[in-house]
Amino acid sequence: MDGPVVTMQVRHVADAVAVVDIKGEVTAGCEPVLMSAYEEASGPGTSRLVLNFAGLEYMNSGGIGMLVTLLVRANRQRQQLAAFGLSEHYREIFELTRLDEAITIYEDEASALSVAGA
């Protein structure tokens, strides 16, 4: 079986805020990588997770489904989910699937973090 074609690096930018830098392809197959990144990002005091999609190269409908699953997990922990770095193409996919109604999209990292007060 092929290895993962995605990497997810976690940065703790503040006590309550973590950024996940996503690079590569987001499909249903990368669920273990995303969930592992979520575990690492999600400490006891984490109230906000910010997904950085600037390195996103490919996403299929399985990838969108996986983000919904992540959203459910974050909501269960009362954590907010935000995103930045989406190209126009991927921003439209978020809007088409209406995922943007649950994951707030920002232009860049600075604006995503300024809302978080980081």
């Binding site: 409908s61 919904v68 209406r98």
Partner: protein, 271 residues
Amino acid sequence: MTEAVDPERATSAEQIELSVREAAAAMTPPASVPKDVGRWAAKVDRLDVQQRDGVRGTNVAGRRLTGPVQGFGKMWQKTYRLTVPADITPQQAIATWKAHFPEFWPAGNRFAGALTGISPGDVALLDLAIGGGVKLSTGVFVLYADEESFTLMTPQGHMFAGWITFSAERDAGATAVQAQVLMRANDPLYELGMTFGGHRKEDVFWAQTLTALGARLGAGPDAEVSTRTVCVDSRRQWHHAGNVWHNSMIRSVFQTVAAPLRALRRARRTS
């Protein structure tokens, strides 16, 4: 000190620079275009529908799409899977599924899609048998399609808010075909219906669909559809209870009951 510039030489230098830039541009791949472009439907706010033969075609035009985020009930991920002979590639399996999608549906249900098959952005109209002679009229939108998978998304009023992904892949030397539903019941009435028999009915629906597909792809009569059900979120989203306003089942019942009256009125007008 002034620098004298020979106009001819300057032009020539600019041309050389331009040529170098053009040559470099020609060698550089175009600014990274994601390979999924063209596989996703273009963004739509509300569905536009073309009438199709054999279905009522109501409860779809002007509706918005609904994903699991917009639904009401518990969130479920249901996976139906069947193994077909290894000489069928995943691409062949999906090409067959796309080209003959309505033919694999259980009897009594109608799927009226575009003549071209399943392409991103298409809207298909559905008439689903719900018993008592009533057909539930709704539709689906082709959200995503590539050579190994395609995904349908539901509009407001459909039984569930979410998407169904049909895919095929190599699995232990064979080919597996799969339908995976990620959904919430769209409103409290549907949630009640899903709890009391709806889920079972849906399981039977997709098992029959996969069995019919498997038969076309050469699977033996003893090939069994495996079903895996996971409750992703056990909470109900009460703030979406108002989705019941769009409930296509209620509207379909009224449309069925009102059909003879409408026909009578039309007949009076023409006589």
